[in-house]
């Protein structure tokens, strides 16, 4: 089991563009959470998906949206990119219900740079 996988590893986008990040959860996990980690900061919770629905959401604007597929993989979409969206985006997965911090297995992250 490769654990949680994320793609791509790195991404460079221009301000105003849209981006899609992908996450495959650890085998047996059905809940996926997304976090944004700016340089020098702790992770900030974006949202969590369970049974293909957004279950919880942090303080992020509607430009941030997501999706979960029947195989439990997930996408994070960010529209109208701003320079401030440059960050490491982390995906985490966990089995079953519970708050986001039950998500014990993190992926390696996708480094997004907005120029």
């Amino acid at each position: 089991d490769a654990g949680v996988t994320q793609s791509p590893t790195h991404l460079i986008k221009t301000r105003g563009q849209q981006v899609t990040l992908r996450c495959s959860p650890k085998s047996g996990h059905d809940t996926v959470s997304w976090y944004q980690q700016a340089l020098g900061q702790g992770p900030q919770f974006i949202f969590q998906y369970y049974e293909e629905e957004e279950r919880q959401r942090g303080n992020f604007p509607d430009r941030f949206s997501g999706h979960q597929f029947p195989n439990y993989s997930s996408e994070l979409n960010v529209n109208a990119l701003l320079l401030g969206d440059s960050a490491l985006y982390l995906c985490a997965s966990s089995p079953g219900t519970g708050g986001p911090l039950r998500a014990e297995y993190f992926g390696p992250g996708t480094r997004l740079t907005v120029t």
Binding site: P43, A92, E104, G109
Partner: protein, 109 residues
Amino acid sequence: AQRVTQPEKLLSVFKGAPVELKCNYSYSGSPELFWYVQYSRQRLQLLLRHISRESIKGFTADLNKGETSFHLKKPFAQEEDSAMYYCALEMNRDDKIIFGKGTRLHILP
């Protein structure tokens, strides 16, 4: 406002000395607290959670509701403890999650 404060950005400790990583939180409800660790070139991983009252890799953390603290402790530091440590708070009432900014622990030989 709810927040998690880790006052030290960097903590340097000699091998064999005791370690204490500080975490203070601000939340009026019933908190659930966690410590996460990230070793060099590895993924963020859960170290321990207060509700389990467990000891992982020699680390323990006690929730002190009076002082609103959840400090991480280890009696004898080891070189492999060098890592970035994050304290996190889950606020059940609001379903919000807050991470601290992290403390880099550097164990000196």
